[in-house]
């Protein structure tokens, strides 16, 4: 019973966190200057966006759930299972970030999900 809860946390909190962080980075704007000082300024600007803090909190939750799951199961199972977040990610990108997910991109995401299902079934 512990494992499904951990997976749910990894996927739910992880994807939610990434969507929030992605939204924050879109607010910061495209990074064009990769010098260290410029990158520090980007980090400073990012930390002033509330979405970044919401995202970091959620991602930290997902991270500790991942540690918990890894203490019980193999890496080659846990990591592919977390890829169920692909469907959640495409939906979130479409509805939360307003990105246009084309039919071709949906097809790619579906293939990825199918591959993940095979990985799960490939359990010994």
């Amino acid at each position: 019973m512990r494992e499904p809860i951990l997976y749910l946390l990894i996927i739910g909190a992880g994807t939610g966190g990434e969507l929030c962080v992605s939204r924050a980075m879109k607010a910061v704007g495209e990074v064009k200057d990769f010098r260290p000082t410029a990158l520090l300024r980007v980090a400073g600007r990012a930390l002033r966006v509330p979405w970044m803090w919401a995202g970091l909190t959620l991602m930290a939750t997902g991270f500790f759930a991942l540690l918990g799951a890894l203490s019980i199961e193999n890496v080659s199972l846990v990591v592919p299972v977390t890829a169920l977040s692909y469907a959640a990610g495409a939906l979130g990108g479409r509805f939360f970030l307003g990105e246009q997910v084309t039919r071709r991109r949906w097809a790619g995401v579906l293939l990825v999900c199918f591959g993940v299902a095979l990985v799960i079934m490939g359990r010994r």
């Binding site: 704007g29 990074v31 307003g98 990105e99 097809a107 079934m121």
Partner: protein
């Protein structure tokens, strides 16, 4: 709405002489995107595998009592392997943040899924986990999905 339409027109009906520079900037956008996704694909899986190695050594997590939790936390935080894993994941995270500042999440997320092949490889060679043929096939299908996603344009929203 009207303004947006005008902007879109300007984007699509630029005069011919600027098409060269537009191509160049699109090529550099692709290069930057691929480079950062490459870093993500190396450091993300490495981090996960190192965390897995560290947590296996620590043993199954039990949070029965507060003493258990503190004991577990102290064992996690004093493990060198875990810290290496965290450093690796932070490198991954930095690359991820940067790429998300210009590329779509729904592009980056699937594109970075080459990482699943990397995880399987690293788990097999570093942790001696058994990766069954069916699992390898799954990994291949994931990579195929990645190729399909890679053919779509990295940005569909207008820069703000």
């Amino acid at each position: 709405m009207k303004l947006r339409h005008a902007q879109a027109n300007r984007l699509y009906y630029k005069p011919m002489e600027s098409s060269d520079s537009r191509m160049k900037s699109s090529a550099s956008l692709h290069f930057k995107t691929y480079l950062l996704i490459f870093l993500m694909v190396i450091f993300g899986p490495l981090g996960n595998v190192l965390l897995g190695k560290g947590m296996k050594r620590i043993g199954a997590a039990s949070l029965g009592t507060p003493t258990d939790a503190i004991d577990l936390l102290s064992r996690v935080l004093t493990s060198g392997t875990i810290w290496l894993g965290i450093a690796s994941l932070m490198t991954f995270f930095a690359a991820y943040m940067l790429v998300l500042s210009w590329a779509d999440y729904s592009y980056v997320q699937p594109a970075s899924s080459v990482a699943y092949a990397m995880v399987a490889l690293l788990a097999h060679f570093m942790l001696r986990e058994v990766v069954t043929p069916l699992r390898w096939m799954g990994v291949l299908v994931i990579c195929l999905g990645v190729l399909v996603v890679g053919q779509t344009p990295p940005r569909t929203t207008e820069p703000s």
